[in-house]
């Protein structure tokens, strides 16, 4: 009873290896593979607009995954993630513009450089906890953003910088259709990396630090190392995401990396489910699609009788903003533990159906 898991009865594991697979059941693995194959066809099926949304989900999903490492797995709130995202974007643009490094290499390189910066800004984590740390990351957010606006040599100052399009061995990828596959590849790799990380030694250590740092220390875990490391890892994925973002937009502007973006990242992982890898992607999709669908609604609303009645006119934007806020609130009221939690409950329900209790 207490040991209830969702592995179907009769599914006995005969080796430890079989018990440590990425997916709990073969069905779920096959479903995932089928899903990926299906997504591969997306560029040929969906229109450019939907494609661009998918790309955004992928890019932000990678960065949000990084945030989930530091917030969800290690339990340290970070309100400065967008600044690392931006750092990755500027770094990749800088590396390719200044040194002519092929974009193909710039992206992981940007991840590594950002990770180093993340480690530096993660240093306060050695001493600070909880909200004190959270506000220190907020400070990092402002400091980095100020740096972007100031460091002409690096970012070009306050004017948006341009970034090369993605190229691979001299072959330029142009357009969203091709870039989609780049993002997809990165998403798969990043999500696999983190899945592995969490089921191996250092990942477990991060979670242990979150759950009970005092006993984690007694278990031989170096708190300072792992608290800081989690910021480094988070920054790595933020950097990779940022780099992908830079070469997708081919423009890097200071403005995309403010505190509001940091907060959206947080919303993604909270709505998806803290400490849930697939939840991150779900939450990202939610937060990317929500404003879009509200936009769509507000377009539909324009000049409609409701518009006339309320006298909205140019204020439709405010209605849209409010709707976004309200939906997030309503969502959290009903599902404070996130989409991943709801997903698990649905699965549990079907597994036990019709004996739901």
């Amino acid at each position: 009873m207490a040991g209830q898991t969702l592995i179907p009865a009769g599914d006995f594991r005969t080796s430890y290896a079989a018990d440590t697979t990425v997916f709990p059941t073969t069905t779920s693995r096959n479903a995932m593979i089928a899903g990926i194959v299906l997504v591969c066809f997306a560029p040929h099926v969906v229109n450019e607009y939907i494609l661009s949304l998918l790309i955004q989900i992928g890019i932000f999903g990678i960065a949000a995954l990084g945030l989930n490492i530091v917030v969800g797995f290690t339990g340290q709130i970070s309100i400065g993630h967008a600044a690392f995202f931006g750092f990755g974007a500027f770094t990749s643009a800088y590396l390719s513009n200044r040194f002519g490094i092929p974009v193909f290499f710039c992206i992981p390189l940007a991840g590594v450089v950002t990770a180093a910066v993340g480690l530096v800004f993660g240093l306060p984590a050695a001493r600070l906890k909880g909200l004190y740390l959270a506000i220190a990351t907020l400070a990092a957010q402002y400091i980095l953003l100020d740096f972007f606006a100031r460091a002409e040599w690096f970012t070009g100052g306050s004017v948006p910088a341009s970034a090369e399009p993605f190229s691979i061995f001299g072959y330029m990828l142009r357009g969203d259709k091709q870039y989609f596959y780049v993002v997809l590849a990165y998403v798969i790799v990043c999500y696999l990396l983190v899945t592995n990380l969490i089921r191996s030694r250092d990942g477990r250590a991060l979670v242990a630090v979150r759950d009970h740092y005092l006993s984690a220390e007694i278990m031989g875990i170096n708190l300072t190392k792992y608290r800081t490391l989690s910021f480094g890892l988070a920054a790595f994925f933020a950097g990779v995401g940022g780099a992908l973002y830079a070469h997708y937009n081919q423009v890097v502007s200071n403005e995309g990396f403010g505190i509001d973006r940091s907060i959206i990242f947080l919303a993604m992982i909270i709505i998806g489910g803290l400490g849930s890898i697939m939840g991150t992607l779900m939450g990202t999709a939610f937060m990317v699609l929500l404003p879009e669908s509200m936009e769509w609604l507000s377009v539909a609303l324009r000049d409609s009788p409701i518009d006339q009645f309320l006298g909205l006119k140019n204020n439709i934007a405010f209605l849209r903003e409010m709707a976004i806020g309200v939906i997030i609130i309503v969502f959290l009221v009903f599902e404070p533990d996130g989409l991943a939690h709801r997903w698990r409950q649905i699965k549990a329900y079907w597994k036990l159906y019709p004996f739901s209790h």
Binding site: M1, L352, F355, H357
Partner: protein
């Protein structure tokens, strides 16, 4: 998890007393919407009595107490069937703070003192629902019971495990409730204090007329103060009776009292296999 379709057993009539102060009728509790923990549990606590609730780890004793005090809600738990009556009124579904105001106070498992306050502040909060002005006198009373608490003027979070347990019990005394639900009050206390705590339990029951539902692992001590006892297994009451009946039950002797009669079973020469008998 076993099937939930099992037919409810009718609640077994307990010894006929006058109106019971608390009666729990056939409740089922789930955690997180799916994990069924209590499966049709019933029990009654007569007014002015001490009733012991015994059972193995995970039987659902703490869950039962939390269901009564309403604290289940804060742990994603829910009473999905059955009802709980206190003083003849249904109390399930009511907010925990209202239940406290009606006179049920729970001493939670694991002390749960407020770590960043001093002992005195903790005690004052125990009396939160009271409006009379004997609070100061009662604080003195608690300090008389547990002189050690008086010496420790720092934050309660720095108290030793046992000291925190004293504070938790003291807090319940401060509330002057009609009924106290005690979850393992003797846990972590030295033998001397265990005796003392049980004599305090007896005392407040006798002198102040407080009804007590006592969850204890120290079955021997619990049955020595209680008039009735219930034994739980896997979310159900499997045996109940007066304290004397239970003390004489062979199984109870074997699993809860550690051997027959007053002869303590030794921990020496333990066998590496175990015999397990379960009622269910």
């Amino acid at each position: 998890m076993t099937e939930a379709t099992e037919i409810d057993r009718p609640p077994k009539a307990t010894a006929p007393t006058a109106a019971p102060l608390l009666s729990v009728r056939n409740i089922e509790v789930v955690y997180d919407k799916v994990i069924l923990v209590l499966r049709g549990l019933s029990l009654e606590v007569p007014k002015g009595a001490i009733v012991a609730l015994l059972g193995a780890n995970g039987a659902g004793k703490s869950t039962t107490l939390k269901a009564i005090s309403g604290l289940l809600k804060t742990e994603d738990g829910e009473v999905i069937r059955g009802e709980i009556l206190f003083d003849g009124e249904r109390i399930n579904g009511i907010d925990p703070d209202k239940i406290v105001r009606r006179g049920i106070f729970q001493v939670m498992e694991g002390r749960r003192i407020i770590a960043d306050m001093t002992s005195i502040e903790n005690l004052k909060l125990g009396a939160f629902t009271r409006t009379d002005n004997e609070i100061a006198a009662d604080i003195d009373m608690v300090f008389r019971y547990f002189p050690r608490l008086k010496e420790r003027t720092g934050l309660a979070g720095y108290l030793s495990g046992g000291e925190q347990q004293m504070l938790a019990i003291g807090r319940a005394l401060m509330a002057r409730p009609k009924m106290i639900l005690m979850d393992e009050p003797s846990m972590g206390l030295s033998p001397l204090l265990v005796k003392e705590v049980f004599s305090i339990i007896k005392e407040i029951n006798r002198d102040l007329g407080v009804t007590i539902l006592l969850v204890e692992q120290n079955a021997r001590a619990a049955l020595s103060v209680a008039s009735h006892g219930y034994i739980m297994e896997q979310g159900k009451v499997v045996l109940d009776g007066t304290a004397d009946e239970l003390r004489d039950n062979e199984d109870v002797k074997e699993f809860y009292l550690g051997g027959a009669g007053d002869q303590r079973k030794s921990f020496k020469n333990l066998k590496s296999f175990k015999r397990r008998k379960r009622w269910l």
